[in-house]
Structure formats: C-alpha cells, structure tokens
C-alpha cells in the first residue's frame, strides 16, 4: 500500500500524510514546491536540495527489495511493562496509544527477502513508534534477525532511525545495546556481511551499538548521527553548535561512515557491496 493511502498516521513527523493526485508539498528545508509525481519518483526526497523525508519500513521494503519477495516476521513480539514504569503517564498507556495510532509492530520491523536476487535478513527501525526507542522488543527482534542471518548464512541489512534507548525499560533497555552487539559478533565470526544504514536521526544507545558496527556504514544525506543529542550537548557545554555538526556529511568527514548515499542509489549500492563481500 502506498504511504499516502494509509489510514493510520504511521508516517514520520515531517512527511505530508494525505497527498491526493495533483497536489504538492513544500520542502521543509528549502521551501521548494514538490509535486506528488516528482516526490514519488525521487523516493520522498526533495529534487532541489536532496532533503530526505522520513519514510516507513514499508517504503524502504518497496525501495530495496525485489518485488514480492519480502516476508515480514516476528510481528507478534510486543512491549511489556516489566518495571511498571510511570512518569507523567504510565508506560502501559503510552504503549497502548502507540500501538493504536500506528501500524508499527513496535520500533523495529524484521523480516527477509531478496535484494537484486540476493537473499538477506533485514531489520528497519520505526521512528514513529515512541521515537524509535530501543527496549526489549527492539533488542529481541534484532537478535532474531541476526540469528536468521546465521541460519540462512546470508547478509544482514539494518536501517536505523532512533532517539536511543527506551527510558521506560531502564537497565533492560541499556542491555539491548549489549545483546545486539553480541549477535553481530557472531556474524563477524562466521564471515557474514552486515551493512548498517543510518537515517535521520540515529542517536544514543542505537548509534552506540549496532548502528555504528557495520562492516560498511552508509548514511542518508544530512541525517543527524551522534551519541548525545544536540540539545543535550548545547545545554551541557553552553555553546552554540557548529553548522552541520553531527550531520552525515560531517560524520563521513570524521571517518565514521563509509558513504553518504542518496536514497535513489541505496539498492544499487547495497547490491554492489554485497557482491564484493561474499
């Protein structure tokens, strides 16, 4: 189903939700007017400034996988509230709301399929589900995607978009950084390729675990990538942050990414890399 036909609001904050034929949207970055046809052709990026709108796992599946090959798995793994966490609102309430207002199966979708004829295990984070935060469910599903790669002796491809670990599961969330990194260690021992794709934003416990551990790290243009969030840093050091700080292009320059790749070239880039790494 195309994103603009979906009933539920499962699309990132800055993407227009309803866009009938003939209508247009405006790029939040350069204010250029983008018509629907252009928008789709450019895979939800701005043709003028390359701004990449946030899209869902379903769009990424459409973009990356050979048509009809993707199988969505582990759809029934749901967040629990093991600590009875309450802040201004109970965690159980937050979870119920998040499950109701979106189609997301929590903050990580996993499955498998073919990319240009190559079988891969796949995981994609859902930023629209509680900020793509990593709790027990994200860790467990990531672990299963890793296990599938081990069983099927195939590569693992992961798309990240996350504000970090989920506070409402406290230390259990923190330990998911360890769990996800440990399964990547098994892939490494077995010579299986792992490609990490970082999209806007990838910060906190996700960047400081699996997102930064790719054999190859690829980012979409201008994505926010870092450990501490920019607001936290600004508050902490009481200084203005430099232009372009923590953006893909700067992270590439500092040596922590292999490539910054436009969404239109993502499928071909993954295909080419996998040809070399097997």
């Amino acid at each position: 189903m195309s994103w603009f036909l979906r009933k539920k609001q499962n699309i990132g904050d800055n993407i227009p939700r309803e866009m009938p034929d003939g209508l247009f949207t405006q790029c939040p970055s350069c204010k250029t007017v983008i018509y629907k046809k252009q928008f789709e052709e450019n895979l939800f990026t701005c043709h003028s400034c390359n701004h990449h709108f946030r899209i869902t796992w379903e769009e990424y599946v459409d973009i990356l996988f050979d048509q009809g090959t993707f199988v969505h798995t582990d759809t029934e793994v749901r967040s629990a509230d093991p600590l009875n966490f309450v802040d201004t609102k109970a965690y159980t309430l937050r979870l119920n709301e998040a499950y109701q207002k979106s189609d997301f199966p929590d903050a990580l979708t996993v499955g498998y399929g073919d990319i240009v004829g190559r079988h891969v295990s796949f995981a994609c984070m859902n930023f629209g589900f509680i900020g793509g935060s990593m709790g027990s469910v994200v860790g467990e599903k990531f672990y299963r995607a890793g296990k599938r790669a081990l069983t099927d002796k195939c590569p693992l491809i992961v798309i990240s978009a996350s504000g970090g670990a989920r506070m409402q599961e406290s230390a259990l969330s923190l330990m998911q950084m360890a769990k996800t990194s440990a399964i990547l260690g098994e892939l490494a021992d077995n010579g299986l390729p792992y490609i990490s794709i970082l999209t806007d934003p990838t910060t906190g416990g996700v960047s400081a675990s699996f997102a930064m551990l790719g054999d190859v790290n690829i980012a979409e243009p201008k994505a926010l990538i870092g450990f501490a969030g920019p607001r936290v840093i600004e508050q902490f050091i009481r200084k203005k942050l430099p232009e372009g700080f923590q953006r893909s292009e700067s992270v590439l320059q500092h040596g922590f990414l292999d490539k910054v790749v436009h969404r239109k070239n993502l499928r071909q880039t993954i295909h080419t890399i996998l040809q070399h790494l097997s």
Binding site: V77, L83, A171, L172, A182, G185, G204, S207, S209, V232
Partner: protein, 317 residues
C-alpha cells in the same frame, strides 16, 4: 580522604555524634562514660536503621558520596603491584578511564575503570569521570592486551555518563562505545564487571560487558541518570526522586531484572565508612569468581557470556 560530607538523611546521625563529642568535653570533669557508650550504640543502631530503609534516590546520593572509594583506591588496596598504562595510541590519554595490570592475590589481571576526582582540581582533570572516545579506546587496547597475554579482566564502573561534547562526538563517541561492546562480548578471557558507584547509560556499559556482573549494595545502574530522566519525561529537573523510583536503578532492582549476578554487601553506612573492609571483601569475591570462571573452556566461556546477554529483556508474544 574524608571530606566530612554529610548527606541530608544522615543529619540525625550527625546530631547524635555532636552530642557525643559534647559529652566527651564534659567528661573531663564528670564521668559520663556510661551515657557515652549508650549514645554510641544508639548511633550505630540509627545508622543501621537508616541504611536499611534507603529510598532509591538516597542510594544515588550514597553512590555519589565524595568519600566513596574510586577505581584507583581499589587499584591500590584490593589489588597490589598496579601498573597503569596510558593512551589509546591514536589520539591521546583520557584520565576519566584508568587501565593497567595488577595482582589480585597471586594472579595477574587487567583492571579497567572509570575515575572521578575528589576535589575541584582533580575533578576537572578527570572530567568528573566522564570519558571521551580515547578513554574507551584505551580500554579496548588494554582488553586486547589482556586477551593476548591470557589475563582475566576486571572492570570497575563509576561514571555519570560519557562526555557529551563537540569534540567527543567528532572523535566518534558512539563508535568507540559500540566497538567495545562487540569486542567484549567475544573476548577470549574471563571478564568480571563491578558497578562500584554510578552506572550511567552507555558511558558505563562501554566497559561493562562480562561473564559476571557484580554490583555494590549502594551503587546505581540505569539507562539514564535520574536528573536527565526527570528533565526529559517530566520536562523539569524537579522530579529526580520519582525518576529514581521509576527507573528501578538499585542493586536489588538490577538483580531482580536478571542483569546483576551478585550484590556486594557494603559496610553499614556505605563503602566509604569502612573502605578497608570493602577492599578486602571485594578482593576475596573477585578471586573466587575468577577461579570459578577459569574452570570453563574457552568455548563454554564465550557461549555462556553470549547466552547471558541474549536472555536479557522482557516482552510479550
């Protein structure tokens, strides 16, 4: 090393102690020995009572007590022959993480830990125990040395978090922590983790993967510090007590989550009240843990470590 720093909830103890010293003054003239003894045992009872019923936030305060033993104190007292190794061989040396080799009774081990300062000057030097990427990379270098020379590793966790700064980000704070997680999950020597004070977030976990996770009775370990949690979820700094409760960050909490294997008892009133007892009990405990782990084959060791972390988490299905 005493700073005579008193925690708010210890004020009643301080009152009694003041009274005792006043009576001591008086007893130069009159014999008050009996009353003094009585009051002294009252103080001990009161302290035991207060420490038995600490709230989570109060434990956070004990974990941050400026007299609490830090990594280098353990290096000097739990271990012998400590030789510190400096630098990540790429950028610099981070004083917020110390690393080196030491003797635990008759065994050589690698020791890695966060290091805070005790006064303003040393805290600035140690960056308040908040590591930069080169700290994690120094740790990684010593982890690899331990592996190369087949020595067990002891990691002591005590940090308010990894440093959130421009340079830290540009030098790859996220990558430095991530790399350690992966390497530690498959390092071919036994690793024992001890949370000795503050275990804040990825900054703590960055040297926190191991076969056994021990936690001192009054330490805390969480995905985020209670103050930061308050500011994000409550949008105010004023809810740190509630945040500490919600985060379930104490040693008994972590034990019930299946994360911590063993709670290390502290002397009544906290590790800083009788550090020598703390140093010795930790030495005995670490020694016996290493002996237990040494009976495992390499394959068993790594498989068990992975299994331990794979089992972490709670979900519905």
């Amino acid at each position: 090393m005493a700073t005579n720093y008193t925690l708010e909830f210890e004020k009643p103890i301080l009152e009694l102690e003041k009274k005792i010293s006043e009576m001591r003054e008086l007893s130069k003239n009159i014999d008050l020995g009996e009353q003094i003894n009585e009051l002294e045992s009252k103080v001990e009872l009161l302290r035991a009572e207060i420490y038995k019923n600490l709230t989570r936030w109060q434990r956070v305060q004990v974990a941050r007590h400026p007299d609490r033993p830090y990594t280098l104190d353990y290096c000097a007292n739990t271990f012998t022959d400590f030789v510190e190794l400096h630098g990540d061989r790429a950028f610099g040396d981070d004083p917020a993480i110390v690393a080196g080799f030491a003797k635990l009774k008759d065994k050589s081990v690698a020791v890695i830990g966060h290091q805070k300062g005790r006064d303003t000057k040393s805290n600035i030097y140690r960056n308040f125990g908040m590591p930069n990427p080169e700290g994690y990379r120094k740790a990684l270098r010593v982890l690899r040395l331990a592996e190369k020379f087949n020595k067990p590793v002891i990691c002591l966790l005590d940090t308010p978090g990894a440093y959130p700064g421009i340079e830290a980000e540009d030098r790859g704070q996220a990558q430095a922590i991530a790399e350690n997680l992966l390497v530690m999950s498959k390092l071919t020597v036994p690793i024992i983790i001890v949370v000795i004070g503050e275990g804040a977030s990825g900054g703590a976990l960055g040297i926190g993967i191991g076969d056994r996770i021990l936690m001192l009775e009054n330490a805390w370990y969480s995905v985020i510090a209670p103050e930061s949690c308050s500011s994000i979820l409550w949008r105010s700094w004023d809810f740190k007590e509630q945040a500490a409760e919600s985060l379930r960050l104490t040693a008994p909490d972590l034990s019930s989550m299946g994360i911590v294997d063993h709670i290390v008892t502290e002397p009544v009133g906290g590790a800083h009240r009788s550090p020598q007892i703390m140093f010795e009990s930790l030495s005995n405990l670490l020694y016996s843990e290493i002996n237990k782990l040494s009976t495992l084959s390499l394959d068993e060791l790594i498989a068990a470590r992975r299994k331990k972390f794979y089992a972490m988490g709670v979900w519905n299905e």
